[in-house]
Symmetry: C2
Subunit: 301 residues, 2 copies
């Protein structure tokens, strides 16, 4: 990218991040609502943190179809609530037992386990509340499809299933296809949903275009996880904002363990290139999706 485009992209990212912060603040119940502690915990886990990768993907896909920003905000908020709920529950002692997230104590450390459990539950519900209360697309039937896309992506055959496979694979030797299957569900499914939801918020796409977009999303989803594994090995906790090196310490299968650091980095590059290729038919309209794939693979935290 030329320097100007890099600056434009960074400005766009910051704008979407600010816009999402305001939208999430509006969509989440106020801390003054009873029970206050539950609403505090929900807001603590969602607001003021996170790279907002999934909303960014939704907005970038929305740019392909001239989507209404208010619709993208709602879709982005639902995606971010699902993502946040999965982190809150994943960090709990019964799962990863993590104490640090986005540089802050995790929800169960700050609010106790019972509140963390309920806050995660209520955040998931809030996502479906937003998606069913707001007009997201011209056709209510398409909106039902969007809700179903999010449900499939985050349920036991999607994200939750991936977390299950991850859980049951601790200390097991996974093959590369098994590891890939796990991440396609655990991280990839929601990233795919983010791109698809964004693309539903504007002018309808042809099936061919939607398939190309879906291929982009699959590559980005997998690349995201490969890079996560690389960063978990290389970065320190302060840069990462969460406990580094945990996966290796927990004997969890990672791309780095399976492919070596060099192999993992090559894999990330290949996936980025495949994502770029998938965007070719969209031309200039896909420049945000293009830049985002680069950002996701080249990030340092």
């Amino acid at each position: 990218m030329a320097t100007d485009s890099v600056i434009d992209f960074k400005v766009w990212m910051s704008q979407v991040q600010v816009q999402m912060e305001i939208a999430l603040d509006r969509y989440l119940p106020a801390s003054t609502h009873i029970p206050e502690r539950l609403h505090d915990a929900m807001r603590y886990s969602v607001l003021d943190g996170g790279k907002r990768v999934r909303p960014l993907l939704a907005f970038a896909a929305g740019a392909l179809v001239d989507a209404d920003p208010a619709r993208l905000e709602a879709a982005g908020a639902a995606l971010e609530m699902i993502h946040a709920y999965s982190l809150v529950h994943d960090d709990m002692p019964a799962m990863d037992n993590d104490v640090l997230r986005r540089g802050k104590p995790t929800v169960h450390v700050a609010f106790g386990e019972a509140t963390a459990l309920l806050a995660g539950d209520a955040l998931q519900t809030a996502a479906f509340d937003v998606l069913s209360a707001t007009t997201l697309t011209d056709s209510p039937s398409d909106q039902l499809k969007m809700i179903n896309i999010l449900a499939r992506a985050s349920g036991s055959l999607g994200m939750c299933g991936g977390q299950g496979i991850d859980l049951y694979s601790v200390g097991q030797e996974l093959t590369l296809p098994e590891l890939e299957m796990m991440h396609i569900l655990k991280t990839g499914a929601l990233i795919r949903a983010a791109v698809l939801l964004g693309s539903y918020c504007g002018t309808p796409l042809s099936d061919e275009a939607r398939n190309a977009l879906d291929h982009y999303a699959k590559c980005v989803g997998l690349a995201f996880q490969v890079v996560d594994d690389i960063l978990d090995c290389e970065a320190d906790s302060a840069t990462l904002g969460k406990t580094a090196g945990k996966d290796a310490a927990n004997n969890k299968p990672t791309y780095v363990a399976l492919l070596g650091m060099k192999g993992a980095k090559e894999k990330a590059e290949e996936l980025k290139q495949a994502a770029f290729d998938a965007l070719a038919p969209f031309g200039e309209k896909a420049k945000l999706l293009h830049a985002l794939a680069g950002y996701i693979v080249d990030r340092k935290y």
Copy 2:
């Protein structure tokens, strides 16, 4: 009720219970799906147990509007999945730490805490999957409303919020209005949603009729909890299929603690009568809702 009607009602209940068992079996992913342990746990918590009160209410409300049974099954399955997820999480050590439910070990006892956490999460998602994948009513806009009704009823301003208030009230002195507020959210909201969802599966109701139905649902929801508190004091664990006397032992506020046993029983009767009164405009078509209110208040477990 005359003896014949009692028999008819019991036959109808058994039929709906069997039908729901088959529907839930079909809607839940098979145990052979990866991750098998997660799907086993989801099926364990939902199948082969429970009175199916919420689906029964949806079917009874559906009878008012000549609803298609296939639609009622889908609505009933979603309601039961939400109910089951809330029980799985509520039983966990971080919350009520209960070991017995419906006469079987609770999910975290049988499958471990991590799986219980994920199974509850995935059951909630599965409910929204069912509601968005199946045609439930003639108008897709109305179906979006139905999804929103379930989300509002089960989120932090509904069921989850009620559980939060319950959690934060342990050892506190609650007034009767505070106790009522807690139960209206914790149990009442989902019972109301059950009646409303059923009523959306057929011929549209007038606003006036829907308000009357909603008043019925509020009374039944509250009566349900008052009777739960009475049974928790009076029944033994074997009859109840869960640990009896836990609320009192945990110093949780109950209707019996607040009103005395006699007062609590009078309250349940009053609510039953108010529910009956709300059904008056519907005549003979409401006979199942009528019988169900009687069943809920007069049950022994």
